[in-house]
Symmetry: C2
Subunit: 319 residues, 2 copies
């Protein structure tokens, strides 16, 4: 039985090993991913993102519980340095999530490694493919923050939840700048805190000011929750379902979104590959260190050093 | 007079145009940067980073005022979607910073563009070189957040300030994960707010737990400030001065740090260049869209599509 066959059959050890190999950038992992590809494209991927401390992990934990009650299988990928899965957060969180550790219908994995050449975005996307191929109905991808990496990751999701807490006035400014446009559902967690109404109305205003984007389309709902008390979770999953129905309701829309997704994924994959290949080759051959020395001694400016290297590495036709 | 000569002579219009060209990735800008390189390496670069809403812009504004009083010339680069310089923040901030707009000893510029291929880190570094070559004594680089881009940018700084506000308990967890190690000075701004003492002691604890990193070296001081009332700014600049003295006190240390900096900068520059060159070439030739189509139609998996493209673009010797 090939590794790909084992994974499609749901062999947990094979899955765990492949994801580890992806994380470690073992070249053979790529071959397995190629074999797995025909078995992908079935899972529904939900991205959950927000600043540290908004309670993403608790929310994900509760979502898993609800999905399991509905007899759905679930994969969780936590791309978050502060997540209990990758060891950043307090013990309480860690214990809370353990309740799923004995459940065979749940596969949880943290993507914590950040290689010298980046690659976390890439390895997370590959891990999504693996959980998809192993037959998980839902894949929940938890990411922290509003950086470009996170935006690239949540672009792989079918539905993206942005999690906020009350009293983040200034942070909403930051949201505007980047991640707002990728939010399909907004969740105000810890909604018992002072200022929840204000946060809801701030986001509503922000969405309404951006009316053009949403006309004839999906207008992101704003939900409140208290994940720690299991309040509002059912409503969130109902909205995820509605968003899924919305996506499926138009073949044109669905294939447009899918096309963009393929385009983004291929762009990121090519970026990642050429950077890794060129740099590792340069480092192994010693060329890189030679160039660093010359610039360090001020015998060469870095711009010229870079030009020299690039023209040596890229085939003609590229400038 | 060449463009480079004009810039070294302090011609503000030439500087502004070159930075705009860098932002727009005009190829000729690289040639000017090569010419300018011998005139760089004199300015002292201070990075100021922190989450949105901690008051970085106000702090920078006050630092500029103090440095000007000491008859130092100052360049400011704001890499921040929420910064008043790039138009994200409230009008009050914008007005506040205007007091330096008539001062010829101050050059302020926002780096707001984010090209399709990234490149903000790269263009910010080039802009630092330009302000350095034009003869600014200090260059203050303001960045937001804790993403990888920000870390790459502050790595160019001689001294890095991490700005926090009281009551960011959870965020300190996130700091741990990434940006802590690049902080040379910690500033708790808005120190009149409840919980300032707690934040100071949390950070102190964090630094002390990481004792190994700091033995025989610089141990980051933790300062409190109320930038809006000009409280604590002098003390911050005194610590910047102390850190500068510390860096200069050992030739070995100084050249080690400088070497690492050259190494990082060259890595980033090469990454940026090859990605941009390969992708723009692929897009122009139509090869990229062909590959996207094949993957979209599921006639090809993305991993193989990527392999094909990479082997066409990289010279043999790279895998």
């Amino acid at each position: 039985m090939s590794i790909a066959d084992k994974i499609v059959a749901g062999d947990i050890r094979a899955v765990a090993r492949l994801i580890r190999d992806i994380d470690d950038m073992v070249p053979e992992a790529r071959e397995v991913l190629k074999d797995l590809y025909p078995s992908t494209g079935r899972a529904y991927v939900v991205g959950i993102t927000g600043a540290p401390g908004v309670g993403k992990s608790t929310l994900v934990d509760q979502m898993v519980a609800h999905l399991r009650k509905a007899e759905k299988t679930v994969g969780v990928l936590a791309v978050d340095p502060t997540s209990p899965f990758s060891g950043g957060a307090i013990l309480g969180d860690r214990v809370r999530m353990q309740r799923h550790s004995m459940d065979e219908g749940v596969f949880i994995r943290s993507m914590a490694t950040r290689g010298y050449f980046g690659g976390l975005t890439q390895s997370t996307k590959s891990a999504i493919d693996v959980l998809d191929a192993m037959g998980k109905d839902y894949i929940l991808v938890e990411t922290v923050g509003v950086g470009q990496d996170e935006i690239d990751i949540v672009r792989s999701a079918d539905t993206t939840l942005i999690v906020l807490i009350p009293g983040m006035g200034d942070d909403i400014q930051a949201l505007k700048a980047g991640i707002l446009e990728v939010g399909d559902i907004f969740v105000i967690n810890k909604a018992d805190r002072e200022g929840a109404d204000r946060t809801v109305s701030d986001i509503r205003l922000m969405i309404e000011m951006d009316e053009k984007r949403y006309e004839n389309g999906w207008k992101p709902p704003i939900l409140t929750a208290q994940a720690v008390f299991d309040n509002g979770i059912k409503e969130i999953l109902d909205e995820v379902e509605k968003h899924a129905t919305y996506l499926r309701s138009s073949t044109e829309r669905q294939s447009g979104i899918k096309y963009e997704k393929v385009r983004n994924e291929l762009t990121e994959m090519i970026k990642d590959r050429i950077v890794r290949d060129v740099l590792s080759d340069l480092i192994q051959s010693g060329e890189f260190e030679d160039a660093v020395q010359l610039v360090f001694q001020r015998k060469l400016d870095p711009y010229t050093a870079c030009d020299n290297i690039v023209s040596k590495k890229l085939k003609p036709g590229d400038k």
